[in-house]
């Protein structure tokens, strides 16, 4: 059982890193720093539902640090960490309340990821009007979070069915 878990986590981390790479290849600019497609959030959402909170958080953090060294720089690690931790916290709480489905959890994660990054950016550059970008960040977060949520939901259903038939 333990070996199986290690293998699963390894696959998830690899998947998250590949999605990071894919995202770094797509020239997807909203014209605002901090807004990204959030493909890797797919892995976090799926893990939150399928493997548990601790594992999801661990993989998310490892992904950010590794992807930062591979495709980014120290700055991008800092921004990603802020966004990653905030969005994880929000998604975890929403999931725990249990009134909402995967799509909503993912949307909330998308928005909070963008906001977390922007807050750090504002702190770093010292003079930066965050609230000016708030609406755009929210709309972008809803759109990308929605897409990721739909994908994640399908993934989670299949994953759970697979797990059930294996036992």
């Amino acid at each position: 059982m333990k070996t199986k878990k290690v293998a699963y986590l390894g696959v998830f981390l690899a998947l998250a890193l590949i999605l990071s790479y894919v995202e770094s290849l797509i020239p997807f600019y909203f014209g605002i720093p901090g807004v990204k497609l959030g493909l890797t959030n797919l892995v976090v959402v799926v893990m939150l539902y399928c493997t548990g909170t601790k594992e999801a958080f661990g993989i998310s953090m490892m992904r950010i640090v590794l992807a930062g060294f591979l495709f980014g720089n120290m700055f991008s690690i800092l921004y990603s960490l802020a966004g990653g931790i905030l969005s994880f916290l929000i998604m975890y709480l929403l999931k725990k309340i249990g009134k909402l489905n995967v799509v909503s959890v993912s949307v909330a994660g998308g928005i909070s990821h963008n906001i977390g990054q922007l807050v750090v950016a504002a702190v770093v550059v010292e003079t930066y009007n965050i609230f000016y970008y708030m609406p755009v960040l929210m709309i972008a977060g809803v759109l990308t979070g929605f897409l990721i949520g739909i994908l994640g939901q399908e993934f989670i259903r299949r994953f759970q069915i697979l797990n059930k038939t294996q036992k």
């Binding site: 600019y29 014209g31 720093p33 700055f75 991008s76 489905n101 995967v102 799509v103 609406p135 759970q160």
Partner: protein, 131 residues
């Protein structure tokens, strides 16, 4: 492990996402009212300190230097300010659109350069005291 219920998007989700979108649109509309018309000057700050203020009416190219090295190039043309070059790898600031309205900003995070449109040239009291 409990299977997810069959319904993919429930009533709660529609209310939640709809609510967020409504807030976003409300804020967006609010911003349009709060935001002033077109600004007259561009203020460049590096590391939170004012680097220089330039008139939008004048076509010019501003080289932003840090430690004697040119880090960013700002072009002012036809009343719009646009970052045309930067030495950072991601070039996010260069990809941003040209700005002309008050409070609009272009930010280069790696170099901590902020370009902001302001209405009027302000006297920087902090600098004159410190200087």
């Amino acid at each position: 492990m409990r299977l997810l219920n069959k319904k993919r998007i429930g009533k709660n989700d529609i209310v939640f996402i709809g609510g967020l979108l409504a807030i976003a649109v409300f804020l967006f509309v609010l911003m349009q009212f709060v935001r002033g018309g077109s600004g007259a000057y561009v203020e460049v700050t590096v590391d939170g300190e004012v680097y220089g203020t330039y008139a939008l009416a004048e076509n010019q190219t501003v080289e932003i230097k840090k430690d004697g090295k040119v880090t960013n190039v700002l072009s002012i043309r036809d009343g719009k300010a646009d970052m045309t070059d930067a030495d950072c790898p991601d070039l996010l600031c260069v990809h941003q659109r040209a700005i002309s309205k008050e409070d609009e900003t272009i930010v280069c995070l790696p170099n901590k350069v902020v370009v902001k449109i302001i209405k009027a040239k302000e006297k920087n009291n902090i600098d004159s005291i410190a200087g």
